[in-house]
Symmetry: C2
Subunit: 232 residues, 2 copies
């Protein structure tokens, strides 16, 4: 079909996204120890913001739930700012029933201090132990409650990436998982570029060359087509 060529031109179109309700989570969470100290991670939020922007451009209704990041809100996207893993869960839960797709790029803390102090804890001589408890596994929770929603997870792993990705798809009832190797310099956390592998529920995987987070956002949304058309 000669017209197919036009679809890959400079104005890409993913018509199956038009009018879809998409929830993107992004950024790190901060788990508060006291008014000064917190536990966090290196997520910059760039991947999630790029996906939110790309989906909005394709005509989706996008809500972006984000931890503390220094990024401007993409035009036309509804943004909800949160701090902790608990805040993230509380923001996402009431939205979940209504959405068609969740893309969870947020690096949500697995552990949170079991006590938050109202005043700055004074240092003292000697060592210190911070006792932490598990946070709620948000993606696992969404997987258990899954109805019509397409569920896409991310994995920032430093080893055994594919093994872990496959296990996570099954365990959390996901449709797709996007893995990036955060060990490599110049990609991943805080960088503008990334190198990802997409793992699908049907055990297919697609590896992408290093490229901008904006380009990868578009490729990720492209890969969703069979899922939206009910043949993933």
């Amino acid at each position: 079909d000669i017209f197919a060529f036009l679809d890959t031109g400079p104005s890409p179109s993913l018509p199956y996204l038009k009018g879809k309700k998409i929830l993107v989570s992004a950024g790190p969470t901060r788990e508060i120890i006291d008014p000064v100290r917190f536990l966090s991670n290196r997520s910059s939020g760039k991947t999630g913001f790029a996906i939110a922007q790309a989906a909005q451009t394709q005509g989706a209704e996008v809500t972006l739930v984000t931890g503390p990041v220094e990024l401007p809100t993409p035009p036309g996207v509804e943004r909800i700012d949160v701090t902790s893993a608990k805040d993230m869960l509380d923001a996402i839960t009431p939205l979940y029933d209504e959405v068609d797709l969740v893309i969870k790029t947020a690096a949500v803390a697995d552990y949170t201090p079991n006590e938050t102090f109202p005043h700055k804890v004074k240092k003292s001589d000697g060592d210190l132990s911070v006792n932490m408890v598990r946070t709620v596994d948000i993606l696992g929770e969404l997987g258990r409650r899954k109805d019509q929603q397409i569920l896409v997870g991310f994995a920032a792993e430093t080893n055994k990436v594919s093994e872990y990705a496959e296990a996570k798809i099954a365990e959390k009832n996901l449709d797709m998982i996007v893995a990036n190797n955060v060990n490599e310099a110049g990609i991943g956390f805080a960088s503008d570029d990334n190198k990802i592998t997409i793992f699908r529920r049907d055990h297919e995987s697609i590896e992408y060359d290093k490229q901008s987070k904006e380009d990868l956002a578009y490729h990720l949304l492209e890969e969703l087509q069979p899922l939206f058309e009910g043949d993933g």
Copy 2:
């Protein structure tokens, strides 16, 4: 003296800063748990960057040693980027002998994990303890090694501010300490404004109204005049 009036006009001048070597530390530190997770604090670096810029404008040679922040380098200032408390110590130590003034605005972690993992630690069921050890007290170390240097510390306290400030001046051999109350909304961490009290070694203290970090930077440098002129 009628000419004194002119000195407080729109082009303020602090001639005692001209050619002085000034070291400013700024921002938070990040104490690394694994390639993804870290412990940090809410310092934005804005106060330190404002002081570095103000001092440079007055003709000082300014080196700015900063933890991870999202701020542009003030023109004419030499910037050294660091991550952890240990990096901060290693960057400051070799510069100390040569400088006339150190202003330590950095919020350096008091504790660091006693082990850094080369791979992301997998979460597991149940609780977790992060065991931490004390970092080197950089300001205390500079106080012990003090020669010609003027030493200014900061205190981000949430209670008993003046009591703590006075004790810290004596204990760390400082010339001045700047205290801000990080409990109040709209000031302090991450904000553009701040409300500070300056405590001097002679037990005098000066409280400033809430104002921009740029204006406070100038007031702080003004208060250094007697110290540079050998009569503080």
